[in-house]
């Protein structure tokens, strides 16, 4: 004991930890110490961030908040408004989706929450709302996204929310409430009926407690859709002076974007879309060689490496398919690929590439 103390007191803390990790790796190679620790507790691994579903709380008839306790490798200081990747194994197969965090960031937190509405066609959302038992171990993708609330928040805000688009906004509202920094906030919240409004009661309570927060609920089954050119001036006369965050169904976001563009105020608008808009320049295309099987695929500059691999019958790893979760990452032995989102090119040998958002620029070889 005394010896150990003498050794540890001489070493800086991180050096010691590094030494322990190094020794652990030597003993567990070709695996990692995490692979053995995860046998004791499935969350004790930073190899792939995992989480345990603690609770599924019903919010409305078809929506629920899923409380997740993340394992090692998670940092709790996400920005309010960000989303995370969730990987759940159903019938043996991992399915990945992205969901906005509805919980406010808490550095000392132990859990995070997402709020999910079961969509009629949404097989995974339905599973999350209606089928997933507490204790289930899931995979997590770290928080990302730039639909976030700045700190401190701007003096005047407008939130335009449709349906389950409330989730990232809820994280923002909770954060401002908790920090006591609620500025002048107008929240326009549309849903088909009042009963289907997720978090309605909590928002009403927040509005009662915070003078700055004004809620304008709208049940579109009775009152019709919110039409910006007709209703916005009545709803929020000073909308031109406000920083705006909009989240909801695609058509709503399209209309919002157009409206703010016409007003020449698109700089003030922040949108959250959950579909990937791959408008970047395509690559030239080329032949992709899959090293392990020797299979090849000839592709044009618009086909992603992931699609090409699947077409060729390669068991490509994939996740969100929108460049978020990094599950699809594969090592490119040589060649060049271009990221469709921003035109960045990757051309280093043995570079890890995200196959779901990259296209080949000339021939390339993948280690799969």
């Amino acid at each position: 004991m005394a010896l150990m103390d003498r050794v540890t007191s001489r070493l800086p803390k991180d050096k010691l930890w590094e030494g322990v990790r190094f020794a652990g790796r030597q003993l567990t190679t070709p695996l990692l110490p995490d692979d053995y620790l995860a046998m004791l507790n499935p969350r004790w691994t930073a190899r792939e961030v995992r989480g345990e579903i603690v609770e599924v709380k019903p919010e409305t008839d078809d929506a629920a908040t899923v409380v997740i306790r993340p394992g090692w490798g998670w940092s709790f200081d996400h920005a309010p408004g960000q989303y995370i990747g969730i990987g759940i194994q159903v019938e043996g197969k991992f399915h990945w989706r992205s969901y906005s965090l509805s919980s406010a960031p808490e550095r000392s937190g132990r859990t995070v929450s997402i709020t999910v509405r079961a969509m009629p066609e949404g097989f995974l959302s339905d599973h999350l709302v209606n089928g997933v038992p507490p204790g289930t171990i899931i995979r997590l993708g770290l928080p990302s996204g730039d639909f976030v609330l700045p700190d401190p928040p701007p003096a005047k805000l407008l939130f335009l929310v449709g349906g389950s688009g409330i989730t990232p906004v809820m994280a923002m509202l909770r954060t401002m409430d908790r920090r006591g920094t609620m500025p002048d906030v107008v929240l326009s919240y549309s849903s088909t009926t009042h009963d289907r409004m997720i978090f309605r009661e909590e928002i009403e309570e927040l509005a009662a407690k915070n003078d700055g927060l004004t809620l304008h609920p709208r049940a579109t089954d009775d009152d019709g859709m919110l039409e910006l050119d007709k209703h916005l001036d009545d709803l929020c006369g000073d909308w031109r002076e406000r920083e705006v965050w909009a989240c909801g169904p695609g058509p709503m976001l399209d209309a919002t974007e157009e409206f703010w563009q016409q007003a020449g105020l698109e700089d003030r608008l922040h949108l959250e879309r959950f579909s990937l808009n791959l408008t970047g320049d395509g690559g030239e295309g080329g032949t992709i060689t899959f090293q392990n099987s020797g299979k090849t695929a000839e592709v044009d500059g618009a086909t992603t490496v992931l699609e090409a691999g699947e077409e060729a019958g390669i068991g490509m790893p994939y996740g969100c398919r929108t460049g978020i979760c990094h599950t699809c990452t594969v090592t490119m032995i040589d060649g060049t690929v271009r990221d469709l989102r921003n035109g960045d090119e990757f051309d280093q040998p043995n570079e890890n590439i995200q196959t779901c958002v990259t296209v080949p620029v000339g021939d390339c070889t993948l280690n799969i």
């Binding site: 020794a23 030597q26 003993l27 190679t29 070709p30 695996l31 692979d35 053995y36 046998m39 190899r47 792939e48 990987g87 194994q89 019938e91 043996g92 197969k93 991992f94 399915h95 990945w96 066609e121 949404g122 097989f123 995974l124 995979r139 090293q291 392990n292 099987s293 020797g294 299979k295 090849t296 699947e310 060729a312 019958g313 390669i314 068991g315 490509m316 790893p317 994939y318 996740g319 398919r321 599950t327 594969v330 090592t331 280690n367 799969i368």
Partner: protein, 405 residues
């Protein structure tokens, strides 16, 4: 000349061969569609058992090492557990995961693209020499480097050389040091000797082998023995025992796959313009199964179902048993041979071939259970490069990883 001209199945018309191919495709599709929870549970259970067995084996050796009375029995017990864990890891888990049998789960921790196994050969080189070269050109003379691994003469068509006289010795050495033999397999020592190897590739491969080999060796012969303190040597010996146990077992199982008398060899001409159905035929006729209970099959990575594995190298190994029932029915229906026998018999035949072929052909009689004349032009030693091999993989499979919801 196509593969369908080989005597064993000349009774089949082209249409019948294609029909067989369609039936095998259908079988594949059925298994793919039915992969579900219980398959995932199978591989996770195997991984769990293997890791616990390895941890328990190592802990037993280290814990028993500090007492003179427990040292030897503890090391034998722990070494046996570790050996079994290594066998399970290499055979049922590593080999099969790297084949992509579990890629459909989309689990990044159990995926062919990043699995590294507990043996000296780097996974990347294994996937090239095994998944690509061996599974694509199975038993094609001059193409499949697994016909004797460049060390042994395993087909009568392979040219005899006085070097082959030492085969019984090389064979024994290969068996005992199997993991190191496998580690050097993709390197192609013959090409290095002839100075034909691309120095850049060679440097990269050697570096990979050195790094992996060093880590593997340091674990078993330095770090774990150090944990045993005064019994350093005992634990090192226990680990060596575990490694040799795995080496011998893996060697025996692998030699039963394509070297029993019933497994056919093919020539370059026979695989020219090969169709997908003919590819299936070649895999069936070039492979040999062995019989056994479920435990034997698990410990041999289900390679006792070598025929099924070669037909569907990337379907989950726990399904090979049920697939074999259907494949046997198809063999009966099309009157095709299905090579199978007890493990000792299959290995005995392989061993006999090793001994016999150490001598030139004129001194020995062929034991092949099929009637084919030895090709007149002898296949020289040496390998083909990837560019010379070309691509011939026709079992593209219908694996679809597309999001379904």
């Amino acid at each position: 000349m196509a593969i369908a001209d080989v005597q064993e199945y000349t009774h089949l018309t082209d249409e019948e061969v294609e029909q067989l191919g369609r039936e095998l495709d259908e079988l594949r599709a059925q298994v793919e569609e039915s992969r579900s929870d219980h398959d995932a549970a199978y591989i996770y259970t195997m991984i769990k058992i293997q890791r616990r067995l390895a941890a328990a084996g190592r802990a037993t050796m280290v814990a028993s090492a500090w007492n003179r009375r427990t040292r030897v029995p503890g090391t034998i017990l722990g070494g046996t557990m570790l050996g079994l864990a290594k066998i399970l890891e290499n055979m049922e888990i590593g080999h099969n995961v790297m084949h992509g049998q579990w890629d459909w789960m989309n689990d990044p921790e159990v995926h062919s693209s990043n699995w590294e196994w507990d043996t000296a050969q780097p996974a990347e080189q294994w996937k090239h020499s095994h998944n690509y070269v061996h599974h694509q050109f199975t038993n094609v003379l001059g193409y499949d480097n697994d016909i004797g691994y460049g060390i042994l003469r395993m087909a009568r068509e392979q040219k005899w050389n006085p070097f082959n006289l030492g085969q019984p010795v090389y064979n024994a050495m290969l068996a005992a040091l199997f993991q190191w033999g496998v580690a050097l397999h993709d390197l192609d020592i013959e090409a290095i000797r002839k100075m034909e190897k691309d120095p850049k590739v060679m440097k990269k491969q050697l570096k990979q082998i050195w790094r992996k080999g060093r880590r593997q060796a340091a674990k078993d012969y330095l770090f774990f023995p150090l944990l045993s303190g005064p019994a350093f040597a005992t634990t090192a010996a226990g680990n060596a025992y575990a490694n040799v146990m795995r080496n011998l077992w893996a060697y025996v199982i692998i030699f039963c796959g394509h070297f029993p008398d019933g497994a056919l060899h093919f020539t370059e001409e026979e695989v020219e313009n090969e169709s997908r159905a003919e590819w299936y035929l070649r895999q069936m006729l070039g492979s040999a199964n062995f019989e056994g209970g479920p435990l034997l099959h698990i410990m041999s990575g289900n390679l006792g179902y070598q025929i099924e594995h070669h037909l569907y190298p990337d379907l989950p190994s726990n399904r090979y048993a049920e697939i074999s029932v259907r494949v046997k029915e198809l063999c009966a229906k099309y009157e095709l041979p299905y090579t199978i026998g007890p493990l000792h018999k299959q290995y005995g035949q392989a061993l006999r071939t090793i001994m016999k072929l150490s001598l030139p052909n004129r001194f020995t009689e062929s034991n092949r259970s099929y009637d084919r004349e030895v090709v007149e032009q002898e296949v020289p030693r040496g390998r083909k490069t990837d560019a010379q091999l070309g691509s011939r993989r026709l079992e593209t499979g219908s694996y679809s990883a597309r999001a379904t919801a």
